[in-house]
């Protein structure tokens, strides 16, 4: 990890300081609903920024994050739930004995969740990167789907579709926000490192990158595993925030949501991933008023529950039509202040 001491160093420190202050302020002064939404936003920033690494920066169109998030969530949950609580909740079949013995503290559980995801990504990278482009998309979509089906069909480990309950609620804004900050810093450093340049070379022209001596397989695998690691941690945080998880949470709509976030924000831009998260996660909560009866000019319309999602999908189409490369394009926050360049260097 290298943090370059340039004139932007000050800006970086200032942004992190503001973020830390905001987390402290929000934890103390905001109401619980707002804090919960902020928690969601922080977790989705982790997921979106890491998903962006493989999809945006490396240009490998993959659709598997729901699978990695599920792995992270299940591993973390199994490590956090006390043996007593486990004993009591397996209702379909008895769990494997070793499942009952698993127990660890929060940090270890999160890290193991991340490592398991990254390890699976490593194992998958060999077959997955045999294919390119849209074929990669469908293969990874398939893996994500299979992981969900496995979670339903292996009740000895996952308790089937009943899911795992009574997960201790460790996640709070300090954890989610703190890890989000760390994730963003780590990912920005990777993007700006030698590896990051290799990843971008793969995205811009894979054949040319090979010709220039870039080990494209290594660059892709590196991006894939890093992104899986943080997605696993994000999944663990989500499990410890919700306190209960079940397979239906991790279907491909989850992946679509992340894809919408990173493309809306600007594929390849970490700043874009953050903006996209705030817009999609925050926005869809804010739009709840659309489900309620509306008072317009003295008239009260009848409530139309579900209207929120109709408007959400229309907005999504319109934003994409007007910001065809997403809100940020490939640019990062700092580049907004520079004279307009091609954005990507």
């Amino acid at each position: 990890m290298q943090i370059s001491l340039t004139k932007h160093h000050g800006i970086n420190v200032a942004i992190v300081a503001i973020a830390v202050w905001f987390i402290w302020f929000a934890s103390g002064y905001f109401d619980e609903y707002t804090v919960r939404i902020l928690n969601n936003i922080a977790i989705f920033i982790i997921l979106a920024a890491s998903y962006n690494l493989i999809n945006g920066v490396t240009g490998q169109f993959s659709l598997e994050p729901n699978g990695f998030v599920a792995i992270g969530a299940y591993v973390t949950a199994l490590l956090l739930i006390t043996p007593d609580a486990k004993m009591y909740q397996y209702a379909i079949v008895d769990p494997y004995p070793f499942i009952l013995t698993l127990h660890s503290n929060f940090i270890v559980a999160l890290l193991l969740g991340g490592f398991f995801s990254a390890f699976l990504a490593f194992c998958l990278s060999m077959p997955v990167f045999r294919v390119r482009g849209d074929y990669l998309a469908i293969v990874t979509l398939g893996f994500g789907f299979i992981i969900k089906i496995l979670a339903i069909n292996t009740p000895e480990v996952t308790n089937g579709s009943l899911g795992l309950n009574d997960i201790p609620e460790f996640s709070n804004l300090y954890w989610t926000g703190g890890i989000a900050i760390v994730t963003v810093i780590v990912i920005l450093n990777i993007v700006n490192s030698k590896f990051g340049r290799a990843m971008k070379a793969v995205r811009d022209d894979e054949d040319a990158a090979i010709a220039m001596g870039v080990n494209t397989f290594k660059a892709k695998t590196m991006a894939f595993c890093t992104s899986a690691f943080f997605e696993g941690i994000g999944g663990g945080l989500l499990a410890a925030l919700l306190t209960s998880i079940s397979p239906d949470l991790f279907d491909f709509f989850f992946t679509f949501q992340l894809l919408i976030i990173i493309v809306l924000g600007g594929l390849g831009s970490t700043t874009g991933a953050i903006i996209g998260t705030i817009l999609v996660i925050g926005g869809s909560e804010w739009m709840r008023f659309l489900d309620e009866p509306m008072h317009l000019f003295g008239y009260t319309t009848t409530a139309m529950p579900g209207m929120r999602m109709v408007v959400f999908s229309l907005l999504l189409i319109f934003i994409m039509l007007f910001a065809r490369e997403g809100i940020m394009g490939k640019r990062e926050f700092k580049e907004l202040f520079k004279s307009r360049t091609k954005g990507d260097k």
């Binding site: 169109f61 849209d134 293969v139 789907f145 579900g306 109709v310 959400f312 999504l316 065809r324």
Partner: protein, 298 residues
């Protein structure tokens, strides 16, 4: 397992596979000209089924007229979605197009949910389609037998259009190079709209068939079917119409036959399409009939 049961299962798989094939053709044609995974395609199928339902149950049309209404309405919807959501993005990154496709998909699902409700409706199947045919001891309803026949006819029609008409030539040319096609004095946008129209019409036929074989229509019915049909298109080699049909049949067979022989795997049924897909792509990274999609020619 005796031969009758085996043949029965093969016939079932053939019928299911034909339905996947009908929907997969639409995916593959749109992909051929635009390189777009049209995630809204499964939802167009849902709209097709709903239009058929409205035609029969609300307007009181005979079955044939309702099918025509469904085909026409869906084709128009497909072309309209192209004009509104995809055409403005012709020169944008492909992934932006994909997001608007997801947007169209979400919109159709949720709009139908809000305005018509999520409660499944019973599709009024004409009685002559529900009659059972006894074919050397194999029992099939007329509706299930009809599917492979109509699929075969439509496949011939599509291939004829693609290879024997000037529109077909334009579509194939478009699959090679959009820029050059424009230079040749062909309105590429019109041809792309035509492709959406044809694909959506096929999806509508698939939707109506789905509804007469599994007579319940609801707003989310297209999601899983669409996804499996897409997997079918990729298995066959996306961009190839013959491949889409082959892929559809393979996935249909696998789902029925694996369950018949290994009943304990029932819970994994929905995963078969994808397991198969992954296996095929590992050995043949562009699908069975797929040429490298940079050179696809249906």
């Amino acid at each position: 397992m005796d031969i009758t049961i085996f043949m029965q299962q093969m016939l079932n798989g053939f019928s299911l596979g034909s339905m996947y094939a009908l929907i997969a053709i639409g995916y593959t044609m749109v992909y051929g000209v635009l390189r777009l995974i049209n995630f809204a395609h499964g939802d167009i199928m849902m709209v097709g089924a709903f239009l058929g339902y409205f035609g029969i149950a609300v307007l009181g049309l005979p079955f044939g007229a309702a099918v025509l209404l469904s085909i026409g309405g869906s084709a128009l919807l497909g072309m309209f979605s192209d004009i509104v959501a995809y055409r403005p993005l012709r020169n944008a990154p492909k992934i932006s197009l994909l997001i608007t496709a997801i947007g169209v998909s979400f919109f159709l699902e949720n709009a139908f949910n809000v305005f018509f409700g999520g409660v499944p409706r019973a599709f009024p199947v004409p009685t002559y389609l529900e009659e059972m045919v006894d074919f050397y001891g194999l029992m099939m309803p007329v509706s299930a037998l009809l599917v492979p026949i109509v699929t075969a006819i439509l496949l011939v029609v599509i291939l004829w259009v693609l290879f024997k008409t000037k529109y077909g030539m334009a579509i194939r040319a478009l699959a090679f190079d959009v820029g050059t096609v424009n230079l040749m004095g062909i309105d590429a946008n019109r041809i792309i709209s035509l492709v959406f129209g044809i694909g959506s019409a096929l999806a509508a036929v698939g939707g109506v068939f789905w509804a007469i074989n599994y007579p319940s229509v609801e707003p989310m019915m297209g999601v899983l079917v669409g996804l499996k049909a897409f997997a079918a298109a990729v298995v066959g080699g996306i961009g190839s119409v013959g491949g889409a049909v082959l892929g559809g049949l393979i996935i249909g067979f696998t789902e029925v036959v694996v369950i018949a022989f290994f009943p304990e795997l029932g819970g994994y049924k929905d995963a078969f399409a994808f397991i198969f897909l992954i296996l095929i792509l590992l050995f043949k990274p562009t699908g069975i009939l797929g040429i490298d999609f940079e050179k696809s020619r249906f």
